[in-house]
């Protein structure tokens, strides 16, 4: 936001009709996966398929989530902010499924093997980093946490950029030769980060950070 009033006075948030819709849409990839598992349509290498699908959707929703702020500014649709937390938590959800598939289905708790992978295989290191970084973000996503952390919440949540970059690098490093998909995600990420770097150069520092309303949304101040 180029110029945002530091003190907003309006009525408590109306319940959003779109939130259940967005929630349902975010569950479609899981639904598809479960349906395919049920109808034995996971292909010849099901564990690989599940890993790929959960990973791709985590990354896709992450980029969608990172599009919220730029879209708000460009279109003026401030209400988009209401979906950002939900999208972020869905990223964490699919990332957890992705990582769990790796830990349980792929390596079945073979901790020495997994540790070796994380330490020695750059693409696993990158993926693990992305996941680790998401954990504090998920844990501090609640309204209570936003209130508690105040200014530091904003600083902490810049880690999402680390997660996004690590995730794209993870993808790029694991593909054998066909880098088109990771390159596409990388290009989109570059645009989303570039927008923030170039457009958000100067921002007014608001006097008050957070409004006190019953349902707290992480307010966007930049």
């Amino acid at each position: 936001m180029l110029h945002y009033p530091f003190c907003i006075i309006h009525s408590p948030m109306k319940p959003s009709l779109l939130k259940p819709a967005v929630f349902s849409i975010c569950l479609i990839p899981l639904g598809q996966l479960l349906y395919r598992a049920y109808s034995d349509d996971l292909g010849v290498n099901p564990i690989d398929m599940i890993t790929r699908v959960t990973g791709s959707w985590a990354l896709f929703i992450l980029l969608t989530c990172l599009s919220v702020s730029p879209l708000r500014k460009i279109t003026g649709l401030n209400d988009l902010i209401r979906y950002r937390r939900m999208l972020g938590l869905f990223v964490f959800f699919y990332a957890t499924l992705h990582f769990s598939t790796y830990l349980v289905l792929d390596h079945f708790f073979n901790w020495p093997r997994i540790a070796k992978d994380i330490l020695k295989r750059p693409y696993v290191t990158a993926g693990f980093t992305a996941f680790l970084v998401m954990i504090p973000l998920a844990l501090t996503s609640t309204s209570a946490m936003i209130r508690r952390l105040g200014k530091r919440w904003q600083q902490l949540h810049r880690l999402v950029y680390v997660a996004a970059i690590a995730a794209v690098i993870h993808f790029y490093w694991l593909v054998k030769a066909d880098i088109r998909r990771p390159a596409q995600y990388g290009a989109v990420l570059l645009l989303l980060l570039g927008y923030r770097l170039l457009v958000n150069r100067r921002r007014p520092k608001p006097a008050r950070m957070v409004r006190k309303t019953p349902t707290m949304e992480p307010e966007e101040l930049r």
Partner: protein, 318 residues
Amino acid sequence: MLIKKPADIKAGEITAKDLYLNRRQFIASAAGAGLAGVELLSMARPAHALEKLPNVKKSAYTVNEKSNSFKEITNYNNFYELGVEKTDPAENAKYLTTKGWTVEVEGEVKKAKTFAIDDILKLAPLEERVYRMRCVEAWSMVIPWVGLPLSALIKLAEPTNNAKYIQFVTLVDPKRMPAQKPSLFGNSIDWPYVEGLRMDEAMQPLTILSVGLYGEVLPAQNGAPLRLVVPWKYGFKSIKSIVKLRFVEKEPATSWNKMQPQEYGFYSNVNPEVDHPRWSQADERRIGELRRRKTLPFNGYGEQVASLYKGLDLKKYF
């Protein structure tokens, strides 16, 4: 014409609607071609009927492990000429026709020759070889190939004393291999796909030219009509749809090595102690199994082939 469902193909394997529709199409085309007495077995078949190969003998060179199913073997393929996804080759198999296929033999040989597939089928009795196949991506299968020793073709080619290596070349034909069409993002591989073996590796009894699978003619997605199988090396060395053999003096270029030399070497022997730069080769996912398996040196063929590499630093010559 008989349409049979053999016992080993369970009803549960036949699922997707579009495969069912393809079956209708396939029956119609087969009927139209007037192919009598051909068994039409399952949906994973290409548009042309797969003939049974006659007089296939069981070979001593066979592993005592459960073969993967025909569905698995024909629907999970790295064959970039037919698309880069694992399921693309089966979908695009219909484009790869093999009528009038020839294999040229040239280079350091007494006389350059051209073979038709029928000529090659006559070189030696066809054998069924159940081999392990280990992909460099760390998955594996057990496949019942039908083929004959490469040494039979080599002997017929009459190589000169200068022939130290053989280079193999795959077909280039964008009409039959749709992913070879020039694209905006460039080609995945610098066509033609090439591979190579040292002469002693080529003469090794395990090395075969395969013309079939499960007793029938090789499906397109598995490298019809003729492919190499070198079971102790990573799968990408088992080049598919061969059109040429060149007998050469120096170590020949191989496609994956050209693309990423630090990751794919000329030898590419299966070796759990030499990791791929980006992932481990210590274990593998046997398709169909829930737990990973430990990868065996030379894919379990060490007893037969380790002697070929005595004294060779396998970490350096990976």
